[in-house]
């Protein structure tokens, strides 16, 4: 059986990675924050923001843009935002790409901390010994993880970042 699992994974991977073929007359929105533009330029008006999975009827391609219809809207979409198949939806995602990651949930509650810390500290003590420093308490790692999770990027800032770097649809 385990021969088939990698095979299936490979096939699934291939489907996910498949670059949109030019002859395709149907594509799907495959990126977060995909915009349907009035013209084949990122600076043209935004006709609609299209959610992931939106089916697109393709009428043509010019440069890096597809001319498409999505429901009642028509316009242009950058080639990097579409795929031949819609991406798999995360089960009970709950969050979206730009959502807050919150603080860590796996960390133990106060009542359990003493017992749990002992387990972590055993390995931490070895690591600290190897590195020639005093062991850190568990709270420092939790705090560090929460700092990482609190780092946030919003849509507008990301758009400005791509514009400033002339990346993708902002190349021209």
């Amino acid at each position: 059986m385990n021969k088939s699992a990698p095979f299936i994974a490979a096939v699934a991977g291939t489907l996910l990675l498949a670059a949109p073929a030019l002859a395709q007359d149907k594509l799907y929105v495959a990126s977060e924050g995909a915009k349907l533009k009035a013209d084949k330029s990122a600076s043209s008006n935004t006709v609609a923001e299209l959610p992931i999975g939106t089916p697109l009827a393709v009428h043509g391609q010019e440069e890096s843009w597809y001319k498409v219809t999505a429901g009642s809207h028509s316009g242009w979409i950058y080639r990097g935002k579409v795929a031949a198949t819609p991406p798999e939806v995360s089960k009970k995602g709950g969050e979206n790409l730009f959502g807050g990651a919150g603080s860590s949930t796996i960390m133990v509650s106060e009542a359990d901390s003493a017992r749990s810390m002992r387990g972590l500290n055993e390995s931490e003590q070895q690591a600290a010994k190897d590195a020639g420093r005093a062991p850190r308490p568990l709270s420092e790692y939790k705090q560090a993880l929460d700092t990482v999770l609190a780092e946030k990027v919003d849509k507008k800032e990301l758009e400005n970042f791509l514009k400033a770097g002339r990346i993708g649809e902002y190349a021209k």
């Binding site: 994974a9 969050e95 949930t105 960390m107 133990v108």
Partner: protein, 288 residues
Amino acid sequence: MDRRIFLLGIAATALPLALPGSVMAGFLDAIMDPASKESKLLSGAVNVLSSSQQMDYKSERAIGERLAVEGLRRYGMPVQNKNLQHYVNLVGMAVATNSPRPDIPYRFVVVDSQVQNAFACPGGIVFVTSALVGTMQTEAQLAGILSHEVGHVALRHALKSIQRAQFFTGVGQITAATMKGDKGAQFENMINDLQNVLFDKGLDQNMEYEADASAMETAYRTGYNPAGITETLQALQKLESGSTKKGSWFSTHPPLPSRIAKNQAAMKKYPDAMTLAVLGDRFKAQSK
């Protein structure tokens, strides 16, 4: 469906109820307390880790956070440079937007370590060491490495590795009746197995090739030159002979020459790659 997998599914379904809390140690104490939030999250995870169903995101993220703490412990604390951390998150989010799994909140962190490596925890927390950032020259190279790690998360590679590992170490033969007593420690082994995969042994070679292909596609879709990942691998190849092996990219990833060759062959899919963003200057300014 394979019969052994089927049995494993049944065994695991019974696991959360059959396990006495006293056999668990460390973090798993909280997880195995049937009343705890962690337990509720992970009772779903056990089922799914052991069957072909897909795990729900919250369980996946909870496991990832547990591993992220271990990653900080093993590699180092986040680099104290807000500008750099934010920049890496911007590049990471830019590629995550166009990845095969664009609907979960990724986070990217540079950790203070002289070991050359990057790794991803299930659920979307991606680590890159300060040494590896120091090896890179351009934003497209950073985008390539982050896309590779996002690819592992998107394709759920670490969790798939554990499904296989469990199967091969015979955990699949456990039944509800034998899950009492010290057999319950097998549950904790799952987390240990994941640590072993992420930090010591590395993922399956084919998963690395798959993540490279995914990285090139994701970088290209975003608008970066997809050669970035390969350029970074080439830089690593130059460093390999004089570098620390333990816990590094060299010990947790397949041989560089075969990956570089495969990636170079894949570049023909991207005939306009040379026209895409590279951003050496912005990278140099931001990564200081």
